[in-house]
């Protein structure tokens, strides 16, 4: 299972990547593998605001349905609409083309509460 070095992680198996003007959020390779073939994705509306740990979307695989939880508070500035018609991108490229949302964070310090790649790798080892 791959864990990428330059990302932050949550215990709900989301990753966060810092870009210049926003945070990009997706689910981890571990999460997509646990879910299996993902066939539907529900995403929030641009402009919606969420508090940290709120459910912001739904991933539906052949065998199970799973909520996604936002690892930081903030406002949605973009969603990956490509996933609606190509949900398999989440399985094929969870850290790249399978990204879920871009967020304008409300509180940058929340990033410090997330796991590092090393910590997350340990965390899924124990799961």
């Amino acid at each position: 299972m791959s864990v990428k070095d330059d990302l932050y992680y949550s215990e709900d198996h989301e990753w966060v990547r810092e870009e210049e003007d926003c945070l990009v959020i997706g689910v981890t390779d571990f999460a997509q593998d646990e879910l299996g073939d993902i066939v539907f994705v529900e995403l929030p509306e641009v402009g919606e605001e969420f508090d940290k740990d709120d459910s912001f979307g739904v991933l539906e695989s052949v065998k199970a349905v799973s909520d996604t939880f936002i690892p930081v508070s903030g406002k949605i500035i973009e969603v990956n609409e490509n996933l609606l018609d190509n949900p398999e991108l989440l399985n094929d490229d969870p850290y790249g083309e399978g990204w879920l949302i871009k967020v304008d964070p409300a509180d940058d310090s929340e990033l410090d509460e997330l796991l590092s790649a090393e910590e997350y790798a340990e965390f899924i080892e124990e799961e």
Partner: protein
Amino acid sequence: MMKKTPFNQIHKDIGAKMTDFGGWEMPVEYTGIIEEHKAVRNQCGLFDVSHMGEILVSGENAAKSLQKIITNDLQKLEPGKIIYTPICKPDGGIIDDLLVYCLKKDQYLLIVNAANIEKDFEWLKDHLLEKTEAENLSDKYAMLALQGPESKKILTQLTDIDLNSLDYYRFREAKVAGVKMIISRTGYTGELGYELYFEPEAAEKIWDELMKAGSDFGLKACGLGARDTLRLEKLFALYGNDIDENTNPYEASLSWTVALNKGDFIGREKLVEIEKNCCQRKLTPFKITDRGMARHGYEIYAEGEKIGEVTSGSYSPTLEQSIGLAYLKNNYAEPGKEIEIKVRKRNIKAEVVKGPFV
């Protein structure tokens, strides 16, 4: 502590994701449900179904006893033949659905659902006539299902019988890779396929030999996930989802398994009544026209009124669309009717179809 089949270690060694299925630790998928599903439709898949139960009913009154317990007609059977049948309570509710293998005129092997083994065994013991006994042999059999268009070519390499002479719902005692077993032309996928029953000690050998023989034919290990999507596309009822003690064979579209004219049997009186009055609801296939998926227990609406609940819902890898089964009030159980399924906070659109889906 979950029960394990004789193939448990093999599954783990080849990287299966395991799940608790009615108290059994079973493989749900190996490489992916969609890929495994397509392998069975186009080439071949191998399923461990050893969790299924085997109960032997034998003795002077075995046939007479079973004729009284099952709803289908045992007269259709002779050694080497198989029938599918429900067994019902006096009120017509389905206790289980099972296969009956006629080994000899006074010896029948019943293949029952894993979750119902104890219940069925007790029910049988309570209702058998004298000079007849039931034996729970579930631990004495490993069971594999080899399913898909290439299954015959694969099995032919390993067996000493001519599979061309084995018709649907027939079985034969034969050797596969030198191991004595029952080969039956049955399955739960709607494809050409075989189910194999043999001693658990030979589990690893038979698995390996089949995998080797199937390597040129695209044979893949398949889990319960694909088993479920495959059976749903063909509208095969799943006990515990689509049928249970609160449903009767008529509303479950299983009227062909009820032989009202064969003489008395448990549930007959009530089933005669149900047949005469027609059911209020019917197990009905639907496909979802919006994005989203229906799951067991989701509510179904039409014109603002609740008209049923989803009993099975999944994704059809063949149609690339969500499909399902639900008990719907009769006036909605007609192809073309538009219905809505409550998925979490919203309603999504679906359409009643004729089915089967594939």
